[in-house]
Symmetry: D2
Subunit: 428 residues, 4 copies
């Protein structure tokens, strides 16, 4: 199957990282899945993704985010498996199968996070890799390590057994029923400037393994920022790739996303999504021992949703869903806004300076989705001339206000600091 088919619109879902860091549990995953089924599924939200270190029994008990040289749950073929204490249904070598099955029964899809490579512990213990005579030490690259987590060695694509290992991983994941894989430490290769390492080799091994595993899976690459020089390669082999480092609830990061979207605008295509990262909305941070309600103001949250939608970034909700407040829920269930994401095409920046930005994408029936952003710290009047769209006047629907009006010549709108408007224009 063409790999683009499994993500023809930007994937939408929930990911455990923003709430639960490396420590999420089975119960938390399923609780969020329940909420999604009941409240969000009709709007297109469908993925439940279990983020990093589900194989680390003591995740979250160290000083930093990860315990150095932690002992990880692993099977006889050097494959990491869920930590039973955190994911009880995985007992008996069932892995994530039971969780995936429950999630599928809700009409949802299930995703997992992995680090590229093979566990360091497997390599140093002389462990086997599935396949005749294969050993972890024979395929590991001793000089390819992650900069921020000590679990893995990278795989040397030139070694016999390298593809076999990744095939064995994705075969296992397919048997569990995984629909989405977020592969980490593989995208921002600028992190490894003096290493003879481009990242391409392991991406291609993973692509091959997915294509052979018998189950469609969305391939999502992290962390960002991805390199624009690699845009063609990422487009060819992945479904989504992060264009930013981890995104959190700071205005500076949100403002900087406009620069990133500008850079990547020409590369947004069906099945191939530059990814602005998760939505740190609602209640987040518990797993980092810093639980909080998002720092973003409501205007900033509208700006976030507007940019992600007009640019067509994947949407991965980061906040705990159960007990979600009305305001947050309203952001996630605005069908008109989400249609800008799902049905708009060819997002492009019309203008940007330090104070404001204008974006559009093309809606069905020749309509135009138009977003105005006030990037400054004071109220600001923005204007947009219609003649650049080849029209004099138009019907304008204000999607956030759910109001209609007519405009001619120039659209003028006053926006609060860090605020946004999103319009749909219909030629007169």
């Amino acid at each position: 199957m063409d790999k683009d088919q499994c993500a023809l619109t930007p994937p939408m879902g929930w990911n455990s990282w923003d709430c639960y860091a490396a420590n999420v549990t089975e119960e938390q995953l399923l609780r969020n899945a329940e909420y999604m089924r009941e409240n969000l599924l009709p709007y297109g939200w469908e993925y439940i993704v279990c983020d990093i270190q589900w194989y680390e029994p003591l995740a979250g008990t160290g000083e930093g985010e990860y315990r150095p040289f932690a002992a990880l749950s692993m099977d006889e073929y050097s494959r990491l498996i869920p930590a039973e204490n955190r994911f009880p249904s995985s007992a008996g070598a069932r892995g994530f199968g039971p969780i995936a099955e429950k999630i599928h029964r809700m009409g949802l899809k299930f995703g997992i996070h992995i680090m590229r490579g093979i566990p360091r512990q497997a390599v140093h213990a002389g462990a086997a890799v599935k396949g005749p005579g294969l050993r972890a030490a024979g395929i590991a690259n001793p000089f390819s390590i992650c900069r921020w987590n000590s679990d893995m060695y990278g795989i040397d694509p030139g070694k016999k057994g390298a593809q076999d290992y990744y095939d064995s991983l994705f075969g296992l994941y397919a048997s569990w029923g995984v629909d989405y894989v977020k592969v980490d430490d593989i995208c921002n290769t600028n992190m490894y400037p003096h290493m003879p390492y481009s990242g391409r080799g392991e991406i291609e091994l993973i692509r091959n393994a997915i294509d052979k595993c018998g189950r469609p899976m969305v391939l999502s690459l992290s962390p960002g920022p991805a390199l624009i020089e690699e845009s063609w390669h990422l487009s060819k082999y992945a479904n989504m790739w992060r264009i930013t480092d981890d995104f959190w609830d700071h205005w500076d990061s949100l403002k900087d996303m406009f620069r990133r979207c500008e850079l990547w605008q020409a590369h947004v295509q069906a099945g191939r999504w530059p990814d602005c990262d998760m939505l740190p909305l609602g209640r987040i941070g518990a797993g980092f021992k810093r639980p909080r309600y998002t720092n973003f103001t409501r205007d900033e949250q509208r700006t976030l949703m507007t940019l992600w939608c007009i640019f067509r970034s994947p949407l991965m909700m980061g906040g705990e869903l159960s007990g979600c407040d009305e305001w947050t829920l309203s952001l996630l269930t605005n069908g008109e806004i989400l249609d800008v994401l799902k049905k708009g095409v060819k997002p492009r920046q019309l203008y940007r300076d330090d104070k404001e930005a204008l974006w559009m994408n093309s809606a069905p029936d020749g309509k135009i989705n138009l977003a105005l952003f006030n990037l400054g710290d004071e109220n600001r009047k923005l204007s947009c001339r219609l003649d650049q769209f080849g029209i004099d006047g138009a019907g304008l629907r204000d999607l956030w206000k759910a109001e209609d009006r007519r405009v001619s010549g120039v659209i003028c709108e006053e926006l609060p600091p860090h605020g946004a408007a999103l319009f749909r224009l219909s030629k007169a």
Copy 2:
């Protein structure tokens, strides 16, 4: 008019640089134009472009390529004008008007080269710029100079009169009948790492000036390599931009072009052409005091033409046209090959390593143009599986050999060192 309209297919023409360096004359321009009319026009070749320093009476008489602090021909508004000793028809303030007129009468189009900015001599002489009260010194950026030619200061876009100056330039060029402008020292902004200079400002001034001048002109930006980070900006404001430094007749440079085309493949679109630079074919180098027949072997020349066409680079012949040998002429007048350039769309690299490369673009009627390249130094058998195009078998036309055959399963082809094949596949 939409700026893309004036270059819906990659521009094709002749440029004086490879032959005549900074020293071309009116007689040489017209001689090449005559040849083009008689031999090349039916194949789509149409631009005659006068390259750098047509305003320098003593060009080519110094030690290097340019005389430092040369006295340049200039009008009362700080605008450079053709040196009369080299372009006699420009006498009487007629500029390039008479030459353009002759070229237009041949059914061809006329282009000129300019350096961004305003002459240093104008600034230091206190010269005027067209417009009330405007002076050269008022719009020049004293810290923006070219690294390899001492003629100009850059324009500071923030100064009053900056747009007026560029408007006055393009107004003059429009009055001459210019159809194509190659703007230099504006594209590879990596040359100026510590300058607060992104290049964008002057590109936008020039775009505005062309849009206002009343005459369509192709906007070509040099030198390369352009920055991939600027791809969206270059696409928006220019028609073509160089993706390489000056290209000459060395195999290493030709081989390196495959890396550059790989990088830029997603950005090839109608009206927006990444540019592999001129074709240093036939007789070149006279103006550099190193006259020679191209160093490229015939296999390398075929590789060059095949890559430029499958990638859809603009084609600017560099060798002297008059008295062109049969072989070179055959390269420029192969209609089937040139159709790959003109009618193929969506060029993309299928594979590349150090030894070989495969490219395709999509021909009309669902046909596929497929190029195979042997990048190594020995004979090599290349193969290409048809199932990646969703077919089992196909009719294959070998465009260089003008032969037809049928293939099924896998296309296999043995190629000489540095050689290429170009096929058109028709689904069975």
Copy 3:
């Protein structure tokens, strides 16, 4: 004469920059000289240095620090001369001669600032250089400009006449009676990363010119930070070179100077002085339209003086001298502190972290000068073990407090935030 002879101890003086920017006048120079004679000369202060653009009649009247393309006062040999409106005694082609003479009569020495290179205006006007057939355009490097001032082109050392030009400059300066030259835009060559320019050529031309001019002159190079890779070359050809960009009255810059002194400590030698830049003490900033009393607290001022003295940096007072307040005067006239500068040798850092630093240099008669610095923002107890000097106990003179005591084992001292102590230890 060995060039080191003219600066056997770190030069001490006053420089017009911190007060008067590019706009100092004859009257201001002489007023400060008078004050120096009366109050500071006995302590070793002796240079009066006229900083940048004394040749620019309208200096300080533009928007920024320098007017772009300003018309400069120049003689018939492309040599800049004092602007008569600012330095009236220079009328009649007497240059700085009359001022230098007055200053010499006070028992002081006179210094000037120059930019490396030749005026752009001379080059573009076709002006002569002293010497048969020499022209400004023949020795200027059209690609070597300063990044922040538009007055000059650099000199191409490979050109005939390059040495003649610099000889003619220093011949003129010698005839005026100049004792000290601060050459600018020549030291931090990292500013010009892609230029084929190491700075060495012009430094050597200037060294030669001084050696030939018949008058000893201190050679001071700016701006910083100088490159540590060039330490051997700077030591060989200059008397002092800046190890920092312009230093102003900000704690962050003062704290950062500890890092710079650490880096350069091995290169402090008689006649060869890494230079921490001027002392922005007392009343400064008038010429920048931001007149103020120094922002440094008294503790910070003591820290500044202590570091400059223990490290043996040249001392160039920046504040207006006339009407100097008692406190500032006390800093400049503490003989015991200044002896650490003049007579200490081999400065070396004993310890540094983010919170504190310890330095020493070796005083005559086996005594030790020891400086303790509190780099943190809170009171701090510092300690220093005596055994690292091979002693158990010592007589200790607190130079700032002018008190004596005995210590044994460990010196302990509590210091206020950003404060310093300076001790002289005498072995028991």
Copy 4:
């Protein structure tokens, strides 16, 4: 003891690397020691140094220089010990004691190579470190690995037990009788640009450990090029540090050493030696499966010896000593040449361009050692004016030719390509 005392002149010895790569044996060490005692000891050669991976039983049996994830000989405290199959006398936990004892009995000194850090195998096996409750995993930095050898993790200086571990290492080495330690992967910290790693921490731990171990040891740091920014730190904590990557028998590398010596000239001091690396002379390369007689011509070998001696680099012979040919032996046993190394002080470069170089150092009794180098590929006449030394004439001894003559005014010498002369001047 002051650490400088153990290397008051540049250390001279033999090191196993150039001959035996990572595979040297006890027999080879002792054979070279025997030769040194009999032939070289009177000239000051005294160290026998066992280079890398003496703890790897199968060293040299893999594809590259080191086997990835090799199992290393280690004691119960995570300390590497000699591989018994290669160093039989180490059996019974005697380590290098027996070898050191034999070498000491010859009147020689014994050195070993170590990699900074702790074995990865110890960390992943949960091994102990000497000291109550200490574990390898507790002091290893999981993100600090060597770029070219997979044996070790770096030590995190901030961890409890970090100093204990290094103390336990050097305690063991002292018990063996080690006199010299070459610590690797610690000097060229530019290899690790994005790591929060300056190298300083582990250097200081090692310095402390040596100071506490009760036995003087020369501390030599590798690999180069060391960073000039770290010169003060290296001088303070080490006895020698490499200023170049591994040096082999290629003229380009030898020529490039002149640039490196220029850079480091001010830092050559007793006990503190910038190190030009080993002498690849005579028979080398066997351990790399490329046995050969040095590629250097005799002129180049003289140039090498002349530069190392005038600059005062440590001298570590790389070629197999036993059966040394007459020519090579003559290079190593020229007492007059070696006196330039041992007794000259203050080496400094007088001149260098692409074709020639002149160096001097100051010999006892006011004499001058002067070296002339022809860096070009053709015969060349070099000259050197005596007045720069403040003399008109001098007695000149040609140290290579062992001839005396008188010179006045200018020394002129014709040298063959890549050749050198070394003179001792005595003021008339």
